[in-house]
Subunit: 425 residues, 2 copies
């Protein structure tokens, strides 16, 4: 980072934030300008692990301010982390917003020196999807919306749509978000497969299971391939952290936030993150079932959502491909893939590979949430440790076999069956 | 390119070259300084398609000067091409020279504004390998040397040896060599599979064969995967144009020149280029056979060289891996791949994938030399068109099946058998 940027930086608190907003028309204008700024209210709501997030309200509006500090928030300054992540978050949010405004909050302002972004306030009753999944709330449009978001952001940043010159220029730009990539490499693809002081699991119940992960040679061979693909393969501008904690929902609306891990990577990493976290939500339901609600209907809804998310994604992605097949995309030139039969074979091959990548990455994300550093609230909130361990073991076994055997799956329906087969109610 | 660089540029001729050298100590010093520069002799020897190459000799030394003009030399200024290729050539040559000085000429001087490089003169009796292959000369150390070059340059620029931060920084730098990549995309992965005014073949003999390539759906599906891999996968700093015209040899020495297509791409593209061009040399031999020399022994030597090149490459690459397994490479961390059994399984998997990639890319390079824009002298120099077509058809059929069936091959010996099976003497 330029020395200049270092110099311009100061962490804001609630008082200095007000002054900052007053001095920044792009922010002040969303709060009613000078008039509205009299009665400003600020609330810090960052429940994430990394950054500070403020809701700023005036009588005539509300905005979100997010600032990155040069360390991991939940750990403190003993774990330094580049503030440049804010730049990549704002860039990815703007690009994804351009491609899919329906499901991406607008960025009002970005200050690189301050690692500070102002964006649209995603107002209540929006909540974080993960919370809704824990509460057992159905979101009938979730699969439709997320398949839309994934199809558009991934298709339009891929070589099926773009020429190589534009693609490589953007790839180069996002190579600089390497610190965030390295964090993923460590926590998703490395630590769960070795002894690491960061790892934890529901002990003593899962001691043997965690050890088995570290000693599963076949699993580790497959994970090596996924890890290399994650680093080497610049397939599309991915969100990079598309779990259910990065999605805010109501029954009518779905908004994707927090793409600070954004870079040009394999599409399957995003799709897998979303599906894998839904599968974790599924396995956590047995732990949330009670007299009043056995969660059986809800589990069915989750499975249906997994199924529809993939099937709709596939459908929409291929529709975009067909719509733009005469465009500037370098990967499938229209005078080579020149019959609808051939194009549809090419699409089938592409989608099958993407399906297998997604299952691989999704499983890796599940495994790391059970035996790695950062767990998910879906499972963590199950108070009874033995019950939690049972849910986690089912999820872990499902994921291990899915990762190793992913190339044997042809349809998402087969995956659904696989998921159910590990669920001992 | 910076306007500054544009301004500093002028194409040199023999006269202005002398003045340039006199003003450039890094060049003059190799020619004996002021004393030696009295009796300078200059000869333009560029037999390549793209650039101008001068041998500059004084009484006390000789150097090579290579300059890129902003167009394709063999076509003229109707086909513009960035002079920045010279920068990537010098960068790749320096990096490969650092990693494998035995087989890479030293760069004495690089002037980015002038797109001009001074380098070691690879003196006679070195000749271009392709010429030696046409003449039927055996190079007993070729496989040893080329496996050395490929193992070192590819291993040491991969994630098996490097950390992700260094890797991505270099990937980003080489993304800017995109014009050269696009040329490869067009001539290797696109034009042969569509009607293009640039394509040519030995007509009318191969008219049906060229058409069959354009109508082979299975082939085109596989080529799409290779093309995407070529663009998306930043596996190592590859030479990018490693055919037998980019290699200068004597029976004792092997020197790799001309990496102006260098970028972070799939390793198999380099290995395939070398092997694929040896296979083309093999199929051309029937066209060079005469009363005096039936070329049968020579063909055996080529096959042995193909076999040894891969087997030695594999051996050396894995040796480097074992030697550096405790290093900083991100891809296979020692505390995960922590037993020699597991590491050796991982290596086996990696090398098998690399083998298949190499066969795929090698075949694609063969195909384009027969039905695409730029042919190889090995075949072009066969005067009798019907005889040439026969050699070409055998090579083409071999390549098509190798490309489509590459994943069925487990050893290079099986590939050798496959090559021989298409050779009707
Ligand atoms: N645009 C927004 N509108 C409303 N709430 C938001 C918005 N962005 C973030 N939040 C809230 O702040 C929390 C943390 O934001 P997030 O971007 O996930 O930060 P982190 O990078 O630290 O994980 C979210 O879980 C959400 O509750
Ligand atoms: N370092 C060198 N020493 C001796 N001859 C060289 C050297 N570099 C290039 N040449 C000669 O010049 C020719 C063209 O060089 P090359 O780098 O392949 O140019 P191009 O990029 O135009 O293909 C080579 O085939 C070789 O004969
Ligand atoms: Mg978050
Ligand atoms: Mg975040
Ligand atoms: Mg050349
Ligand atoms: Mg040697
Ligand atoms: Mg060249």
């Amino acid at each position: 980072m330029a020395a200049e940027a270092e110099q311009g930086f100061r962490p804001l608190d609630e008082a200095s934030l007000v002054a900052y907003i007053k001095a920044t028309p792009a922010l002040a204008s969303h709060l009613g300008g000078a008039a509205g700024l009299g009665s400003i209210e600020i609330k810090e709501v960052g429940d994430g692990n990394l950054n500070f997030v403020y809701i700023v309200k005036s009588t005539s509006g509300a905005i979100i301010i997010k600032q990155a500090l040069p360390y991991v928030r939940c750990v403190g300054d003993s774990w330094p982390m580049t503030r440049e992540r804010a730049y990549f978050e704002a860039s990815t949010l703007r690009e994804h917003g351009r491609l899919c405004p329906e499901h991406t909050p607008e960025v009002y302002h970005f200050d690189r020196a301050m690692s500070l972004m102002g964006m649209r306030y995603i107002e209540p009753p929006h909540i974080i999807l993960r919370k809704g999944l824990i509460a057992g709330v159905e979101y009938p449009l979730l699969a439709d919306h997320m398949s839309d978001y994934m199809a558009k952001t991934l298709f339009f940043t891929s070589l099926i749509y773009n020429n190589t010159t534009d693609h490589k220029q953007r790839v180069a730009q996002y190579c600089a978000n390497v610190e965030m990539c390295r964090l993923t490499e460590q926590v998703v693809f490395s630590d769960p497969y070795r002894v690491s002081k960061f790892n934890r699991w529901t002990s003593p119940y899962l001691d043997k299971d965690a050890e088995a992960v570290r000693e599963d040679d076949e699993l580790k061979l497959e994970v090596a391939e996924l890890k290399s693909m994650f680093i080497e393969r610049a397939q599309a501008l991915i969100h990079g952290d598309l779990h259910t904690g990065s999605i805010m929902v109501t029954p009518d609306s779905t908004q994707v936030i927090d793409p600070e891990f954004g870079f040009y990577g394999p599409m399957g990493f995003d799709i897998g993150a979303f599906l894998g976290n839904l599968i974790l939500a599924y396995y956590s339901q047995n732990g949330h079932a009670d007299q009043a609600n056995d969660r059986k209907a809800y589990k069915k809804w989750i499975l249906k959502t997994i199924e529809e998310s993939w099937n709709l994604f596939q459908k929409k992605f291929v529709e975009l491909w067909n719509k733009h097949k005469e465009g500037n995309g370098e990967a499938y030139l229209p005078d080579i893939y020149n019959s609808s039969d051939l194009l549809s074979l090419a699409q089938k091959k592409y989608m099958t590979n993407l399906f297998h990548d997604s299952l691989g990455f999704g499983s890796a994300k599940m495994i790391r949430r059970i035996v790695g550093i950062a767990h998910v609230e879906d499972l963590e909130s199950i108070k009874d440790a033995s019950k939690r361990a049972e849910c986690e073991r089912a999820a872990l076994n499902c994921a291990k076999m899915l990762l190793k055997g992913r190339r044997q799956f042809e349809t998402i329906e087969q995956v659904i069956e696989h998921i159910q087969s590990f669920d001992r109610e």
